[in-house]
Symmetry: C2
Subunit: 287 residues, 2 copies
């Protein structure tokens, strides 16, 4: 699984056959195999520090804020009062870093299965792992499925920051997972999940949306630009138990001052709405 | 300049150091050196036919429609009556293919400097070069600068479909070029130009916007998702000589029926508006 050759890391996966994104490596900072996956962290030449799990780029320092902010604030700002939040996955701490910025959020529970991702991130990705330092955050090293089976009707928002639907994360895209999410939410609860890209696997996105629709009243697909991810973008499944909510309209809007003070580099209320606008070839399939 | 190794084409350029996008090659269809540049056309394994100039991907069959539709319809639909259009560059025919779809467009003049790009595209990229078959289109093989010097006050819309600001296209990003565009336009004229990506070269985008602002009343930067381009997206500089026009609001809206009949796979009026919404880190720099 070592995809570094002649000083370049190349991302090769059956999820996006016939294409590959590569980054020049300055220095390998960490390399280990956990109970769940291969973990690689390297300093790239032009994109800062990069986290790779099972050969797939999870984040690069240059553009990770787009993903972390969007997967967090799309559901949080669509919810009228997101006091208690569950994060499933997200062992690098980036999502926790963003969620704790939201003024209405009081308590964040995070469940991550792989302790080695957390400890390696604390050491090598401190700009993300600082999310764990917030007094709002309680981190549990355990299985997200198990945790939710024992915590019903408890959360306003649940964010699933998973890797791609291959290997350990494959169950996080099934109908059964959306049932669990529904049961762990309070009435009116909202979720967001990493949902792949429409360029490489529109049928998979379509299937995920269909699975989610079996349990949620309103289901939307949004996306944002993340150059280090396949196709240079990533999708978010955002869904609500309340059919009257318009997920595209934030009920909480960050002021310009808050955007500066909280260091929001990507998200604002206009980006929120625009993220849900889809090209014709996608709109047709997800209608 | 041959970037094919072990069956993969890799795009390597000083414009985006330390990163590279690669595609698996099924068959090289064409390879030649014109007076202006190296031309390569290959059949990829998963992205259809791909055109490469001087080692840089110009389009892949899988996603080219995003670029061609957006660079065409952003200016055309913002203009109240775009009867006469000039296309500078665009030797593959893709922009002509889109521009001729607009019901109000009566006449399209295209100036492309490299005849070999046109002839190779006619043979190997017929799905794009079919744009030249429209009775609305007159193609001239000549230098765009020269052409505009001799055609003042003539066009409603001018679209510059250039390669990146390195090599033969470098002059198409200078202040002098925007002066020429202004003079070739009729009053109220609108332009769009390929304008790079904010992820890799925000200072360059900022400079291009500043150059354009010296000659145009309203200048905006928009973008769309194109996985085969660096960072998975591409920017468009859209500018008007009329300060009262809101470039973000299309004055012509394609109906759902037109979208189907004209085979618009990407562009619609909501995408038009959303393309101008920028993340905070860009908004701040381009304000």
């Amino acid at each position: 699984m070592d995809h570094i050759r002649a000083g370049w890391f190349s991302e090769i996966s059956p999820l996006w056959p016939g294409q590959s994104f590569s980054m020049e490596v300055k220095e390998v900072l960490y390399k280990d195999k956990s109970e769940y996956q291969d973990i690689l962290i390297f300093e790239s030449k032009n994109n800062g520090t990069v986290l790779v799990l099972d050969g797939i780029i999870q984040c690069s320092q240059k553009d990770e804020f787009s993903y972390q902010e969007m997967i967090s604030f799309l559901p949080l700002c669509a919810h009228p009062n997101p006091q208690k939040v569950l994060i499933v996955g997200g062992g690098d701490g980036g999502v926790a870093r963003e969620v704790q910025k939201h003024p209405l959020v009081k308590e964040i529970i995070q469940v991550e299965i792989d302790e080695k991702v957390v400890s390696a991130s604390k050491k090598h990705l401190p700009f993300m792992a600082k999310g764990f330092d917030s007094p709002k955050v309680t981190l549990n090293i355990c299985d997200g499925f198990e945790y939710m089976r024992n915590h019903k009707n408890e959360f306003d928002v649940i964010i699933t920051d998973s890797s791609d639907p291959i290997g350990p994360a494959v169950n996080l895209f099934t109908e059964n997972y959306y049932r669990l999410l529904k049961e762990a939410l309070k009435p009116g609860g909202i979720i967001s999940s990493q949902a792949g890209t429409v360029w490489t696997d529109l049928p998979m996105v379509k299937q995920t949306v269909a699975n989610c629709k079996k349990h949620f009243q309103t289901v939307k697909y949004a996306n944002s630009s993340v150059p280090s991810y396949p196709d240079g973008q990533i999708g978010y499944l955002v869904a609500s138990l309340d059919e009257s909510v318009d997920l595209r309209k934030p009920s909480f809007v960050f002021s310009e001052r808050q955007i500066d003070e909280l260091e929001l580099k990507y998200y604002n209320d206009e980006i929120h709405a625009a993220a849900f606008v889809l090209p014709n070839f996608v709109r047709k399939e997800l209608a």
